[in-house]
Each structure stands twice: as structure tokens, then as C-alpha cells.
């Protein structure tokens, strides 16, 4: 368990700020292609330059995800991967890495089914630092937010290009750790990026909050990472990594190598 001090996410962003570096945040789905591989993948991502690891909690109905992450959920759920298993993965990861922040990302129903109290307690005990509940906007977070706070878990929220000024203010008031700015209209895995418009939106968010602004959706290689890295405090990459896993389902060693290769490419591009 972490000490009474700062949340690992805050610590990590403070360090990055001192070093004037942009955070590189990979996302993979827990249990994809099988539960035995996740912890190894997490370490591989960190080795190749990840600053924060986002771990997806698979759900049968991932409404906000594109086909790549939908299929990852299906692969994981074939093994009946549950939240308790995912928390055990984080615990195992923590045995060799007590520094890298871990953020869980998923949908509300599995957490409710486990019990929000139990989930918050056990997530904190396993070494989770933040939780992003995709289908829970701040207006519906009355019950969950205080539980997360009590257990020193950061509540991470999404902001979209379509989010109104009034809503952005509400989200910024609730958001902790970092804000996840969705760079385009659509689901995860979609393509086209417009860096100028992202910059414009991030500027107006900076009027509302001082927490780091990270950008996800549409970042897939060194070039897109570098472009967005110019304007954001962090870049989040999901579908591009998950596709590497999908292509190498029966060769997890190779999947791990490809994850590392993509992460290194992005790390170098960001640090150049």
C-alpha cells in the first residue's frame, strides 16, 4: 500500500513537469488475450517508457469503444476475467513496481455488481491510483466519488470536443489526477486528428483547472504522439497497442515486443 503522501499520479506528473516532459500513457485491456499475460505487458510498457498505465476492465457492452477494444473485451471475457482478478493483477504488478501509477478504466455495471464500497477498498489496497468510469459523468457520481476520495483513488473524467463550457466547469471541479480529453468525435480507435483544434480546446480548459490535460483517441504512432505532445501534458494510446496484441494473440512474447517497440517509438518522439 502507498503511504499517506501524494497519490502516485500527482507525484508522477510533478516529476514530469520538473523534467519538462510529456506523459506517455498506454491503455491495454486486462485479461487480453488471457489473464496470464497482463502483468507482463504492464511491465513491458513501463520498461519502454510508460509514465502511467491505464488498465481497461472488460465489459460485455463497451458502448464508447470501437471494434478494436470491443474485441479485446470479448477475448478477455472468454476467460471470465472479473474485477477481483484485475485487482489481483495490479497487486502482482505492484510487487515489482511501486512507482508507476495505475488507472483502471471501465464501465459502471461490473463495479456496482461487486459493490462500490468493496471495489474502492480493494482497488486502493491492490495499489490502484485512479479510476475512470466511462459511463459515469460527474452528475451521477454522488455515491461513488466520496468512496473513491475516502480511499485516495483519483476520479478521472473525460472531456469531449462537444462538451459545453458549463459542463467543462463541472467536470473540472470534480476531476482529479488528470483530465482525459477525447480528441475527436467518435469511439476509441477512430482516426483523424486536428491538433490546432485540440490546442484551442486545451487552452480553454486550462482556464478552468490546473490538473494535467491528457489527450486520447486517435494517437497511434510517434508522429501523432509528438504532434499532440506539443500541446498536451500527456498522450494516451489505446487501440494502436491493443491491435498489436490482437495480431499476436497466440504469440504473447511477440505481442510484448511489439508493445515495447511502439512505446519506444512514441517515447522517443515525445522526448525529441
Amino acid at each position: 500500500m502507498k503511504g499517506a503522501g501524494m497519490n502516485r499520479i500527482d507525484q508522477r506528473f510533478a516529476t514530469l513537469k520538473d523534467q519538462r516532459r510529456t506523459a506517455l500513457i498506454p491503455y491495454i485491456t486486462a485479461g487480453d488475450p488471457g489473464p496470464a499475460h497482463t502483468v507482463g505487458f504492464m511491465h513491458a510498457l513501463v520498461e519502454a517508457g510508460a509514465d502511467v498505465v491505464e488498465l481497461g476492465m472488460p465489459f460485455s457492452d463497451p458502448m464508447a469503444d470501437g471494434p478494436v477494444i470491443q474485441k479485446a473485451c470479448e477475448r478477455a471475457l472468454k476467460h471470465d476475467v472479473r474485477l477481483t482478478h484485475i485487482l489481483a493483477m495490479v497487486e502482482e504488478f505492484r510487487r515489482n513496481d511501486d512507482e508507476t501509477p495505475v488507472v483502471l478504466m471501465g464501465y459502471l455495471n461490473p463495479m456496482e455488481r461487486m459493490g462500490l464500497q468493496a471495489f474502492a477498498e480493494q482497488a486502493a489496497a491492490s495499489g490502484v491510483d485512479g479510476v475512470l468510469v466511462v459511463d459515469m459523468p460527474p452528475e451521477e457520481a454522488d455515491e461513488i466519488a466520496p468512496l473513491f476520495k475516502e480511499h485516495h483513488l483519483h476520479s478521472i473524467f473525460l472531456v469531449a470536443p462537444t462538451t459545453s463550457k458549463e459542463r467543462a466547469a463541472i467536470i473540472c471541479a470534480h476531476g482529479e489526477g488528470y483530465l482525459y480529453y477525447v480528441s475527436l468525435k467518435g469511439v476509441t480507435g477512430a482516426a483523424n486528428l486536428d491538433v490546432a483544434s485540440i490546442e484551442h480546446q486545451l487552452d480553454s480548459l486550462r482556464q478552468l483547472t490546473s490538473i494535467p490535460l491528457c489527450v486520447g483517441f486517435g494517437i497511434r504512432d510517434g508522429d501523432t504522439a509528438a504532434a499532440v505532445g506539443q500541446v498536451a501534458d500527456g498522450v494516451i494510446v489505446g487501440s494502436a497497442l491493443v491491435s498489436r496484441i490482437a495480431e499476436n494473440c497466440d504469440r504473447p512474447e511477440r505481442a510484448s515486443d511489439e508493445l515495447k517497440a511502439l512505446m519506444s517509438e512514441m517515447r522517443q518522439a515525445l522526448d525529441a
Binding site: 465489459f59 457492452d61 464508447a64 470491443q70 452528475e139 469531449a160 468525435k185
Partner: protein
């Protein structure tokens, strides 16, 4: 004032029906929903909008639909008088069109050139394709691959109407997955696309507006009942998938405490087998899916369960949030009818009254068969005959070993 008057004032400003409902969506959808809410709230009490809606219902849909006294069937069952609210006679053959007419008017006012829909049995898809044709809107309908197989006629009908039917291969390949896919489409194309949801589920304001557009069913039935029976009915029965035809019939009677209401869910192979689509009558746990909190069939890990029903239109693991509340406060009794009973009721009404019901309302008929004989001949039941059976002929034929 009735002890149920409070129910008429829901949902609250954030779309909650007691602990149910709400707007549990990704931030990427918030804007579209706020926008829709604004549009609808500004038109909800607008006399011009209402007049246009009423005109379309009268001249395009063919309302009011009759309240028909099924005398022969009532006599045969030997108890209460059974009356059928003939939504099967609507243009396109089901109650679904009441809602699509309303939402199409909203789409028209919002100036969006494209509409999308999800569909299970295909009735909502057909109704959407129909209004889209009439208004010259592009239309794409998401439908689970499994439902495309069992509702081939409706798929072809939608194509004839000019809609593009998109097969959904993810998850259980039924209605819930079609809804996921439609929501994904909507977040991607929100600038030019209006999403016409087909039942009283989904995020706020959908449960509210779909109920409002279907409440014409209950308003008519109430008046017809006073005129034809001379008083309010004793019992209302409707099938419940997402719950739109049931809410449409029930809502205008909610304060009439003497009117007993029964919602009939899909019992599939039987509640005890676990192969059903009856979250309310099986007492499924609370959960969150498609933007609202409700009773939701899910496994211990919180993954949404696959459901089973002979009727594609009821094959859904959740239920509209207003029904969840009405169950808890005891306003409506929820029961299930299993596939076998449903087929019997389908055949019986066809033989005895010459009316072939869709398999969805055949669930309501199956329950009428159970309770009518326990009631007196001076008591009256209204069954919502939410749609006609043409679309199900191939399904029934297959059960009878026929192949066309």
C-alpha cells in the same frame, strides 16, 4: 389526488425515476443528449408541435385505433370481458410508429438529414424507415445478426423503404448490441444525425419522450373505455420488452387506483431455467446499461447476460427505468409468459377472433388467458395488442416444420 399522483411528475429534472433512470453515458454523448433535451422540452407543450403530431397520427397512422371487444374469445375463456386495443391496425403494424412519428418531427425541427435506429423485431426499424422515407431523410438501422435471421421479412421491408440495414455481429448479436452500435454511430456522427430510440429505455430524455409519444394509446383507451364499457376497465395487460407499449397504455391510468395493471415479460423457456428476458419478474439485480439504471440481467461479474425469447422484440436484458420504479412502488404487477404459452395464445386469437397478433403482444394475451377465467363476466380487461403477426409468420411456420 391518488396515492400514485407523484408518479405522474416523474422523471425529475435529471431524468431520474426514483433510484432509476438518469444519464449514465460517456461524456462524448452528453452534448447530443443535452441538445435533444433542450429541443424536446421547448416543444413538449408547444401547441403547434402537438397539433402537427396529432395530425400525423390521425391521417398517416390512422388513429384512433379501435378498442375491440373480443366477445367470442371472452366467452370461450368463460370469465372477464376482453377488449383489444388495436395497435396492430396502425400504419406499419405496431404501436412503434407513434413514437417514430414524434421523434421524426423532432429530427425535422433539428434540421438533421440523417436518422438512425436500433431494432429487435424490426418493427421499430420499419417504423423509422417509413417516417424517414416520408420526410426524405437518410436512414440506417442497426439490427443484431441473429435478429436479421429471424425477422427476414422486416429486413426486406426496411430495404424496400430505402433504409440501409446494418448487421451487428458483436456481443450476443441481438437488440442490446444493436443499441450499442447505434450509440457508437451517434457519437461519431452527432452533427448530422438524429438517433430515434425505439423504447422507453436509454439515457434521459429518451424514456420520457418515448413515453409521451406512446401515451396516446392510453388516452384513447381511457376515453373508449368510458364510452364503450361505460366505466374504466378493471385490468390492463401489456407485454414488456423495453416497455414502450405498456407505458403508453398504462401512463394515462396511473392515478386510477382501481385499475389493476399487469406487465408481461418474456419468460422464454421459463424463469426457473434462466433462459428468459424477464428482469422484473425474475427480480434481476439493479444495474446500468445504455445510459440508465434499472433492473438488469447480469452475471456475478456484472457482465450483461444473454437473454432468450421466441420474440425478438422482447429479447432485451434490461427494461425502461419507469417500469423499475412502478414495480418497486407496487403500481404495476410484473409477470412472465413462456414461449410455449405465447404460441398457444398466438394460435388461439388467430383462430377464434381472426386476428393474428405479433409474438410480443401474444405474451399479454397468454396472461389474459390465465386471469380472465378467474374473473367475473361483468369485469373488463384491456389487452394492448401492440402489433400484428405478419412479421412472425416465418418463425411460426418454422416451428410447424414448414419451409418457404
Amino acid at each position: 389526488m391518488s396515492k400514485f399522483s407523484d408518479l405522474t411528475r416523474l422523471p425529475d429534472a435529471r431524468g431520474h425515476f426514483g433510484p432509476y433512470g438518469g444519464r449514465f453515458v460517456s461524456e462524448t454523448l452528453s452534448f447530443a443528449l443535452e441538445d435533444l433535451e433542450k429541443t424536446y422540452m421547448s416543444l413538449r407543450n408547444d401547441p403547434d408541435f402537438q397539433a402537427e403530431f396529432d395530425r400525423d397520427l390521425a391521417h398517416y397512422v390512422g388513429r384512433p385505433s379501435p378498442l375491440y371487444h373480443a366477445e367470442r374469445w371472452s366467452r370461450q375463456l368463460g370469465g372477464a370481458q376482453i377488449w383489444l386495443k388495436r395497435e396492430d391496425l396502425n400504419h406499419t403494424g405496431a404501436h412503434k410508429v407513434n413514437n417514430t412519428i414524434g421523434q421524426a418531427l423532432l429530427a425535422k425541427r433539428s434540421g438533421k438529414p440523417r436518422v438512425i435506429a436500433e431494432t429487435g423485431a424490426g418493427q421499430h426499424g420499419v417504423a423509422t424507415a417509413t417516417v424517414a422515407a416520408r420526410l426524405g431523410l437518410n436512414c440506417e438501422v442497426y439490427m443484431g445478426a441473429e435478429d436479421i435471421q429471424r425477422q427476414k421479412l422486416n429486413v426486406y421491408r426496411m430495404r424496400l423503404l430505402g433504409a440501409n440495414v446494418i448487421s451487428v455481429e458483436s456481443g450476443t448479436r441481438t437488440l442490446k448490441d444493436a443499441m450499442n452500435e447505434a450509440l457508437r454511430d451517434w457519437v461519431t456522427n452527432v452533427d448530422d444525425t438524429f438517433y430515434i430510440i425505439g423504447t422507453v429505455a436509454g439515457p434521459h430524455p429518451y424514456p420520457l419522450l418515448v413515453r409521451d409519444f406512446n401515451a396516446v394509446v392510453g388516452r384513447e383507451a381511457r376515453e373508449q373505455s368510458l364510452a364503450q364499457i361505460g366505466r374504466l376497465p378493471d385490468t390492463l395487460i401489456a407485454c414488456v420488452g423495453g416497455g414502450s407499449n405498456a407505458l403508453g397504455l398504462f401512463y394515462p391510468f396511473v392515478e386510477d387506483e382501481g385499475v389493476h395493471m399487469i406487465g408481461v415479460e418474456a419468460g422464454g423457456d421459463g424463469i426457473e431455467t434462466g433462459r428468459h428476458a424477464a428482469p422484473l419478474s425474475a427480480n434481476a439485480p439493479q444495474g446500468v446499461l445504455h445510459g440508465n439504471r434499472t433492473y438488469l440481467m447480469s452475471d456475478e461479474g456484472g457482465q450483461v447476460s444473454s437473454t432468450h425469447s421466441i420474440s425478438a422484440g422482447l429479447d432485451y436484458p434490461g427494461v425502461g427505468p419507469e417500469h423499475a420504479l412502478w414495480k418497486d412502488v407496487g403500481r404495476v404487477e410484473y409477470v412472465a409468459a413462456n414461449d410455449k404459452e405465447v404460441l398457444e395464445a398466438f394460435r388461439e386469437l388467430t383462430h377464434v377472433e381472426g386476428i393474428m397478433p405479433a409474438l410480443e403482444p401474444a405474451h399479454a394475451l397468454a396472461h389474459a388467458k390465465v386471469i380472465a377465467p378467474t374473473m367475473r363476466p361483468d369485469q373488463h380487461i384491456i389487452v394492448n395488442l401492440s402489433g400484428r403477426g405478419d412479421k412472425d409468420i416465418l418463425t411460426v411456420a418454422k416451428i410447424d416444420g414448414m419451409d418457404f
